[in-house]
């Protein structure tokens, strides 16, 4: 019922659980345990995709992670759609919907295949040589055309509906790969008592043993042995088993990235489960047991559907119980293909012939094949294939010593199996920066000297015989545990029987075929359509480094990252340049081993989990009042409080007026606060700030300016001296962490002798600013134990007492130019005190105001905002803060820098005020300032507008600006060039309101 190509028995599929799915809209059936690939093969479908460049029809090539051809889009809707999914890794589930890619209108008939006909004009790197004329046509025509032809699948068009999770984990020994080597390694390490994690990409542990039908281990069938091993590991508390989990990247210090698929194999994923889990594992020791990959043969027309890796065909037969074809030609240089041929034959697939490139293949497997009646043809190559959407026949020829082809004959077949040898999976080893070594005998790179606390085991380090692989796995697992500080593993041997072991043999590069090599298409990189002749062309054009060959031809750059192609490409380059492979080197292995979802990297992070949303204790109140908020760093601050029908302008105008006329209330809780305590606190303050602090009396406040060592303004804020040895420092909202780190740096590393300690108190205090002529009247009834009279509590003073019955540090301070207080109360009381003040202020029509109004009010007074007037290039004098620099002080951070000549120049940008002729004209912040508006670009620019607002109290717009030599230009008219016009502005002093400070001292 599940397809004509399903074997009557065998395989690890559950025949009791039929599953239906669709591919390109057509309904098929498979079984639980199938992959999408095996289920389609069971239905006789091999045509699976179209290639990237030539749109050639392509079949399923492999049975695993290395699949280059069979990529599909999977997903029932756009919110669950994933492009470029390898059919060979997609487990079947009921209702799975898959569609082919990169074809139009259909997989069978693809208009894009015209590229294949035109392929002679599209050799490697063709686009560098053409599409240059006419120049404009590139953007308008060529590039869009190229783009629409390129790309494989389609990106989803809707936001992903799934969730992702992340986990950090630690272990003593991480084993990557759960084949025989990995299982044995994990067992050895686990027995030592070490904490072990074992990750395997497949849904089941066992690796290559899942397709093993002959071998026995300790007298058990391979698969029973696997089951026992897994059960033994599962039973141990010190082992974590992760299936469907890929180790995708090896990062410095033995940190390994794993990606675990949790629901992609489920028809109805439960809502509580994330789709994938992303693991960052810190491992004491790592054992890589990632196995090996089979290499294709490079021969003419080797890409027709029906051409398949030999061992993959064996996996389809043994593991999935499906027949990839009916009659096969085998092309090999390697014994593994004989094993495949034998197993296929046993399953009823006719083996038309084994063409072996080797002239004298020998050994037990070869003998077994002959004994089974298979036609073994030594020194023979496949020199071509025929068939449109599936192989119909293969041409075989004997290869002479000179590479010529003789005795060509055509053999009918619907399957061509190939095997050029095995390539150990050294991806992760190489990512760890371990040095690879070329093994001449294997014709493959194997791990050499490790760079991390890592060791490789089994096939991934070039071992082949199962007995050797298991023994090695156990030994490496034990060694790893020992290096991690665990010992006492009982020695163990594993008796392997029933398999024919032989010297495997191998071949690299393009097989000889006797045809015109410059005309035939012998594919090296299937997905990216790179042929042997493309690679030769590249070397001819001077691209001799393997890295250049890769980039010029794109070989190895497809979604399979050259798993099946890189070694053959190397062989071809080696031959073309007549240089040995080790001399040519390899391209760099990079993470991920196979592609990993962006979502897994992002994890839970989205929306409010993307970054913390920091809110003040009063935030809830503001939200209830309908405040508009702005993001300031990661804080949310109330921007303004619109009343019904008001836009920002109207709201701000009203808020400003309220503060100037009566009283406003403002949440200043986000200001950074640092408690500086200790005998040497004043000395420390002297060194960190430009100001002098020694003489500041307890109970008084001072505005402080802080520089970086290179002299530029870093932060500012009001500082209260609470006691001789205690300062309450405030910083800008965004600057708080930076300032604390800056202070700690100097304290810990330069002035460790000072008896001073810092504590961040930003979040201890809610800060409620009450500003305006009626401010005192509003708070007076709420305050206990503090004399608020101007004499007792003048501007820039601080007192400790109670408000609303809770402790407060009450600052008399003003950033508005009005009489004002900043009430510091312990944060949990913030909202209640705010509400009490608000209630008390009702009589004065107290008005909540936001950051925008705060900005306007301070600009009217010419107070700077660090980060707005200053931009990291200003020294104190530039922004009119020369007065805050303690000239008498011998040293402070940044002092040596600002005395350099550069900072004395009169034409530095200096802060000034600007007034427009037209009162209602509000300049744009960031607008430029010039003397001559008529000059052509590039203009000589004098400066820029840093702050600009409509000032309702003045009935005039105001602006602050940084202007070259600005202080000497007071009274001059300059211009702000805007598109189509220039706005004249008068340079004025940067204080627009209450210059004498009468109100503030009121």
């Amino acid at each position: 019922m599940s397809g004509a190509y399903r074997l009557p028995s065998g395989g690890r599929i559950n025949r009791q659980k039929p599953i239906s799915f669709t591919f390109d809209g057509k309904k098929y059936q498979g079984f639980e345990g199938d992959t999408l690939a095996s289920a389609l093969i069971a239905n006789g479908v091999l045509l699976a995709g179209r290639s990237f460049k030539y749109h050639r029809p392509r079949g399923i090539l492999s049975a695993g992670a290395d699949e280059p051809n069979a990529l599909v889009g999977v997903g029932r809707d756009q919110a669950h759609y994933t492009p470029n999914v390898r059919m060979t890794m997609q487990e079947l589930y009921d209702g799975l919907v898959a569609e082919s890619q990169n074809r139009w209108p259909s997989l069978m008939f693809d208009v894009g295949a015209i590229n294949d006909m035109l392929s002679p004009f599209f050799p490697a790197g063709f686009y560098y040589k053409t599409f240059m004329w006419p120049r404009k046509a590139w953007d308008a025509f060529y590039e869009p055309k190229i783009r629409s032809m390129a790309g494989l699948g389609k990106a989803p068009t809707e936001a992903d509906a799934d969730r992702y999770s992340q986990r950090y984990a630690h272990c003593d020994v991480l084993v990557i790969g759960g084949g025989p080597a990995g299982l044995a390694a994990a067992l050895a390490a686990a027995e030592s008592g070490a904490r072990v994690m074992l990750a395997d990409d497949q849904p089941e542990f066992g690796g290559s043993l899942l397709a093993e039908t002959e071998a026995t281990i300790d007298g058990k069938s391979a698969i029973d042995w696997v089951a026992e091993m897994v059960a033994a590991l599962k039973a141990r508390a010190n082992v974590t088993l992760l299936s469907r989990t890929q180790a995708f990247g090896y990062y410095p210090h033995n940190s390994i990235g794993l990606s675990e698929r949790l629901t992609d194999h489920l028809a109805n994923p439960p809502a509580h489960l994330p789709r994938e889990r992303f693991w960052t594992v810190h491992a004491g020791e790592v054992v890589i047991a990632a196995g090996s990959l089979e290499r294709p043969m490079v021969f003419p027309e080797n890409d027709r559907p029906g051409v398949m890796l030999a061992d993959s065909a064996r996996i389809y037969v043994n593991r999935y119980g499906v027949k990839p074809g009916k009659r096969a030609v085998v092309f090999t240089a390697h014994d593994g293909a004989y094993r495949a041929a034998l197993d296929l034959k046993k399953a009823g697939i006719e083996i038309a012939a084994i063409a072996d490139l080797r002239h004298h293949p020998e050994g037990p497997l070869v003998e077994a094949a002959k004994a089974a009646g298979i036609d073994v043809l030594p020194g023979t190559s496949v020199t071509g294939t025929a068939g449109r959407l599936r192989v119909k026949s293969a041409t075989l020829a004997r290869i002479g010593a000179d590479g010529s082809a003789m005795d060509e004959r055509q053999v009918e077949c619907d399957l061509v199996l190939m095997s050029g040898g095995i390539t150990p999976s050294v991806h992760l080893f190489s990512q760890s920066k371990g040095k690879l070594r070329f093994d001449e005998h294997l014709k493959a790179y194997v791990p050499g000297r490790p760079a991390e606390r890592e060791r490789s085991a089994g096939a991934c380090r070039g071992l082949y015989a199962l007995s050797a692989v298991i023994a090695d796995g156990f030994a490496q697992g034990e060694g790893a545990a020992k290096s991690a500080g665990f010992g006492g593993v009982t020695a163990r041997t594993f008796a392997v029987a029933g398999t024919l072991e032989s010297d495997p043999g191998s071949f690299l590069g393009a097989a000889p075929h006797g045809r015109d090599a410059s005309r035939v298409k012998a594919f090296v990189d299937f997905q990216n359509d790179v042929t042997a002749k493309d690679i030769r062309l590249a070397t001819r054009e001077g691209f001799r480094s393997i890295e250049h060959v890769k980039r010029y031809t794109t070989t190895g750059m497809a979604t399979d990252q050259g798993k099946t192609s890189n070694m053959n490409a190397l062989g071809i380059v080696s031959e073309a340049l007549e240089r040995d492979i080790p001399e040519i080197g390899l391209t760099t292995f990079r993470p991920p081993y196979t592609p990993v979802s962006f979502g897994a990297f992002a994890g839970a992070s989205r929306g409010d989990l993307f970054d913390p949303v920091r809110t003040t204790p009063i935030h809830g109140w503001a939200a209830e009042q309908g405040a508009a908020f702005e993001d300031v760093g990661i804080w949310k601050r109330a921007h303004y409080f619109p009343k019904a029908g008001e836009d920002m302008h109207a709201a701000v105008e009203r808020e400003c007026k309220a503060v100037r006329d009566s009283v406003g209330i403002f949440d200043a809780s986000t200001l950074g606060k640092i408690e500086v305590v200790g005998k040497d606190a004043a000395t420390f303050m002297n060194r960190i700030y430009t100001n002098a602090w020694t003489k500041l009396e307890p109970g008084r406040l001072r505005y402080g300016v802080m520089l970086r060592e290179d002299g530029f303004v870093m932060d500012d804020g009001v500082v209260g001296r609470m006691a001789d040895d205690r300062f309450h420092v405030t910083t800008t909202t965004g600057g708080a962490p930076r300032v604390l780190a800056h202070m700690e740096d100097y304290l810990q590393t330069e002035w460790a002798d000072l008896e001073v300690w810092l504590t961040s108190t930003t979040e201890e205090w809610a800060v409620i600013a009450v500003q305006g002529p009626n401010a005192r009247k509003v708070i007076e009834p709420l305050v206990e134990g503090i004399d608020l009279s101007p004499e007792a509590m003048p501007h820039m003073s601080v007192a400790v007492g109670k408000i609303c019955g809770v402790p407060t540090r009450l600052f008399r301070v003003s950033f508005t130019g009005e009489l004002g207080f900043e009430i510091n109360v312990p944060a949990d009381y913030g909202r209640a005190v705010w509400e009490a003040v608000f209630a008390a202020g009702k009589a004065y029509d107290i008005t909540p105001y936001g950051t925008e109004t705060m900005h306007v009010l301070r600009a009217e007074k010419g107070y700077i905002i660090v980060g707005q007037e200053t931009d990291g290039t200003a020294v104190p004098d530039d922004v009119g803060l020369g007065w805050a620099v303690g000239k008498a002080k011998k040293d402070f951070v940044g002092k040596r820098s600002i005395v350099r000549d550069e900072f004395q120049k009169p034409d530095r940008k200096q802060m000034v005020g600007l007034l427009t002729d037209v009162p209602a004209e509000v300049l744009e912040e960031g607008a430029q300032i010039v003397a001559d508006p008529k000059q052509p670009a590039p203009m000589t620019v004098l400066g820029q507008v840093t702050s600009s607002y409509m000032s309702s109290v003045l009935g005039h717009s105001i602006a602050l600006a940084m202007v070259k030599g600005g202080r000497a230009r007071l009274g001059e008219t300059l211009y702000v060039p805007m598109p189509g016009r220039a706005i004249p502005v008068k340079v004025v002093e940067p204080i627009f309101f209450d210059k004498e400070g009468v109100r503030l001292n009121g």
């Binding site: 560098y128 004329w133 980039r551 992070s605 929306g607 300031v632 820098s897 960031g926």
Partner: protein, 418 residues
């Protein structure tokens, strides 16, 4: 030099492409050259090309320790723009963009310069202020840059999520430079190499400079390399991440630190992202290449390193930002991630000019953003070497500015990278 054209391609197709010649020679190093460029990245190759083309110096060599283009030229996210804030920077980068605009034709090599537009997103009021300042400053400098409202952002780049309640930092607007875009990084190195080679420049790969010899007066007289000693009186160093070490060979200490900077690509998909988008606030840089991958810039690691790789958590932070900006890309998958080594100056602006050693010129400190400058930097380095004085455009980018405090601090001014 064989001329590249569509007709040539078709004609050679009939000869099975057998008659294509090497795009550059593979010469043995000569005993001496009039000038030697250290570093076969785009900048170094560009310098050699312009020295030969515009200053008539033909007896020159480019020495590359590995393969040309194998440094940052071959591993960057290819963002090209010139909408920098300060006059000096805008002039420098716009000089390059103007050269980009005719580069394919000039080199007879399709560098796939694609003026798809570079859009920088504003997520808060500070961003708006900063970007508007850029827009105005650029306009005054004759550099195109325009402000887009959120609606215009959405229209220009439909793939991005501009707002809504589900977004942590909704998009409040953007600054768009339409002349900005991308180019095919490798082709830039190869195109310059081929054109320089045609003018007689020796491009010598697998040749690492190991020492710089100076005569009694202190002036440069030769470089030692892994392929022997080469005499020369002019050495231009364009070694990106390795500049500190090369300059150290001549006793010059540099205000440079080398950091790993990572980038990554997705699997290729059909066109789904039509421009270049940068968000400095949430650290995301993305464009789609001609081949279909999403090319995404990650951040630098925290520490200096020469390892050409980086940590995993850097990529996670980049991709959470990308997923926030384009939620439908969550199911795209990362195909490859890699690192480069970028040399960073204290003010994040390059150093391009003379050094205290006679005959030694340096072009470095491009940090995370020098690909866009490639033809311009090469052009100006060539000028500086040929005339022994900087061109007015690179005159402000001296080494001395750090002593004097005359920084050109784009980063401090706006926190802008790339």
């Amino acid at each position: 030099m064989q001329k590249f054209s569509g007709f040539g391609l078709i004609a050679r197709a009939f000869g099975a492409h057998k008659s294509w010649q090497a795009q550059w020679r593979d010469p043995e190093p000569k005993q001496s050259y009039d000038a030697v460029i250290v570093g076969g990245g785009g900048h170094g190759l560009g310098a050699a090309y312009y020295l030969a083309k515009e200053h008539g110096m033909r007896n020159i060599a480019v020495l590359e320790k590995g393969w040309i283009g194998g440094g940052n030229t071959g591993r960057n996210t290819t963002i090209i723009r010139s909408n920098y804030l300060f006059d000096e920077s805008a002039a420098l980068y716009d000089h390059a963009v103007k050269l980009w605009e005719g580069l394919s034709q000039d080199l007879n090599y399709n560098t796939m310069f694609s003026q798809r537009g570079v859009l920088m997103l504003a997520h808060n009021i500070h961003d708006i202020q900063s970007f508007k300042r850029h827009v105005h400053a650029n306009r005054a400098n004759g550099v195109d840059n325009e402000w887009l409202t959120p609606e215009e952002v959405k229209e220009f780049c439909p793939a991005i999520n501009v707002g809504g309640k589900d977004m942590r930092y909704p998009i409040l607007g953007g600054a768009l430079q339409r002349r900005g875009g991308t180019a095919r990084h490798d082709a830039v190195a190869w195109g310059f190499a081929r054109a320089a080679d045609a003018l007689g420049v020796d491009i010598i790969q697998n040749c690492e400079v190991t020492a710089i010899r100076r005569d009694a007066s202190g002036a440069v007289e030769a470089v030692e390399t892994t392929r022997g000693t080469i005499k020369t009186k002019k050495v231009g160093v364009s070694a990106a991440g390795h500049t500190s070490m090369v300059l150290d060979m001549a006793g010059v200490r540099m205000p440079l630190e080398s950091y790993p900077l990572q980038a990554l690509v997705s699997e290729p998909v059909k066109p789904a992202f039509n421009c270049v988008v940068m968000s400095n606030t949430i650290h995301a840089y993305i464009s789609q290449s001609d081949k279909g991958e999403m090319v995404i810039g990650a951040g630098t690691d925290a520490y200096t390193s020469y390892s050409q790789r980086g940590a995993l958590h850097i990529a996670t932070h980049t991709l959470d930002a990308i997923c926030e900006l384009v939620p439908m890309f969550r199911r795209l998958r990362m195909l490859r991630m890699w690192g480069g080594i970028v040399d960073v100056t204290p003010d994040r602006s390059p150093i391009l000019g003379k050094t205290p050693v006679k005959g030694l010129y340096v072009n470095c400190g491009w940090g995370t953003g020098g690909f866009k400058a490639t033809p311009g930097a090469g052009n100006l380095l060539a000028w500086t070497i040929a005339k022994d004085e900087p061109h007015p455009i690179n005159a402000p980018f001296t080494l001395e500015r750090f002593r004097e405090g005359r920084l050109i601090d784009e980063a401090a001014a706006a926190a802008v990278a790339h």
